[in-house]
C-alpha cells in the first residue's frame, strides 16, 4: 500500500499540482485536500504548497490559518503528523504558530526567481532524512516575501537544537536572518522551507532533481512507524 500524502488547495494556491507530481515521483499517492473541508481523509502526511493563498491579503498565510482544514492539521501536527510547508506553506505554518518566527518582504523589494544553492543543515527531520549532513543542493527559489525573521533568542535556540533545516549558500537572496532557508519544530515532524523542492524533481523541467529526497524522506518515516 502506497503512503498517502495530502496536498492542501487554498483559494490562490499555485504549486499544489506540482507538489502532487513530486509525491508521485517519490513513490507515494497524492491526495487532494480542500481548504474548506475539515477532513484529512486519513493521509499519512500533509504538504502545504506554494502560491498566494487568499491573494496574500492581510499578510501572507494569515487568512489560510483559519481555514477549516487547518485546525485539523494543527491538531494532528502537534501529535506527530508530518507536515511540510513550502513557501506560502511555510508562511502559513509560522502564522499558525506551528513554527516560530515570521516571513517578511524580501529586503531588495523584488520578487526573485532563481536556482538557489542550499546547504542541508539538519537530516534529523522527517522530511530531510534522505540527505547527508551538510549536503549542498540546488532547487528553485521564487518569492517576494521570503525573508525569515525571528528574535535573537529564537534564532539561537533553532541552531542549538539543530532545527535549522537548510541555509542559503552563494549569497542571501532575500534578507533572511542568518541565511535561514528552512526550519523545523522541536519534534522534527513539521518543516517549513522557502525554496521549492517540488520544482526540482525532473531533469527536464528543473535545474536538478535535488528536490526528490524531501519527499522520499517522509516515506521512510511512515514505513518505520507502521
Amino acid at each position: 500500500m502506497d503512503a498517502r500524502i495530502g496536498v492542501v488547495t487554498f483559494p490562490g494556491s499555485l504549486d499544489d499540482a506540482d507538489a502532487a507530481r513530486a509525491i508521485r515521483i517519490a513513490g507515494a499517492t497524492p491526495v487532494a485536500l480542500w481548504h474548506g473541508d475539515a477532513d484529512l481523509h486519513n493521509v499519512d502526511a500533509v504538504v502545504l504548497p506554494g502560491g498566494f493563498s487568499y491573494g496574500d491579503y492581510l499578510r501572507c498565510g494569515a487568512i489560510a490559518k483559519f481555514a477549516p482544514v487547518m485546525s485539523l492539521i494543527i491538531e494532528k501536527a502537534q501529535v506527530g503528523l508530518p507536515v511540510l510547508g513550502i513557501c506560502n506553506g511555510f508562511q502559513i505554518l509560522c502564522e499558525s504558530h506551528l513554527l516560530p518566527g515570521a516571513l517578511t518582504r524580501n529586503d531588495h523589494q523584488h520578487f526573485i526567481c532563481r536556482d538557489q544553492k542550499l546547504r542541508i543543515e539538519s537530516t534529523e527531520t522527517l522530511w530531510t532524512r534522505d540527505f547527508s549532513p551538510g549536503q549542498e543542493i540546488v532547487i528553485p527559489l521564487k518569492n517576494g516575501e521570503g525573508g525569515y525573521v525571528a528574535s535573537e533568542v529564537t534564532l539561537d535556540e533553532l541552531f542549538a537544537e539543530n532545527r535549522v533545516v537548510a541555509t542559503y549558500l552563494g549569497g542571501n537572496p532575500n534578507g533572511s536572518y542568518r541565511d535561514i532557508a528552512g526550519i523545523s519544530n522541536k519534534a522534527g515532524n513539521v518543516v517549513g522551507l522557502m525554496p521549492h523542492p517540488e520544482h526540482a524533481v525532473e531533469a527536464l523541467t528543473g535545474p536538478t532533481t535535488d528536490g526528490i529526497p524531501f519527499f522520499t524522506s517522509v516515506l521512510k518515516s511512515l514505513v518505520g512507524a507502521s
Binding site: 492581510l58 509560522c94 529586503d107 525573521v149 525571528a150
Partner: protein
C-alpha cells in the same frame, strides 16, 4: 456606533524595506532631514453600539492575533464612540 482604528507597524527591530524605500524617495524629492520612515497598515472598523465589556476584549484580542502578527508587528487601538 463605535469606530475602532487599529494601526499596525513592524516592530522597530524588524527591517522595513518599504519604509526605507519611502525614506529615500522623500529625500530625493526635496524633504530634508528625514531621520526614519516606517510603513504600516490602518484598519478602520465600524461597529454597531458602543465597544465595551467582553466585546472590547474580543476586539483587543483580534487586533493582536488577526490584524497584526505579534511575532513581527506592534499595534495601537483607539476607539471613537
Amino acid at each position: 456606533m463605535a469606530r475602532v482604528v487599529v494601526n499596525v507597524a513592524l516592530k522597530p527591530e524588524i527591517l522595513d524595506p518599504q519604509g526605507r524605500a519611502v525614506q529615500g524617495a522623500l529625500g530625493r524629492l526635496g524633504l530634508t532631514g528625514v531621520s526614519d520612515v516606517r510603513q504600516g497598515k490602518q484598519f478602520i472598523i465600524d461597529l454597531d453600539g458602543a465597544l465595551e465589556g467582553e466585546r472590547a476584549e474580543v476586539m483587543q484580542k483580534l487586533a493582536g492575533e488577526l490584524l497584526s502578527n505579534p511575532v513581527i508587528e506592534d499595534f495601537t487601538l483607539t476607539v471613537e464612540n
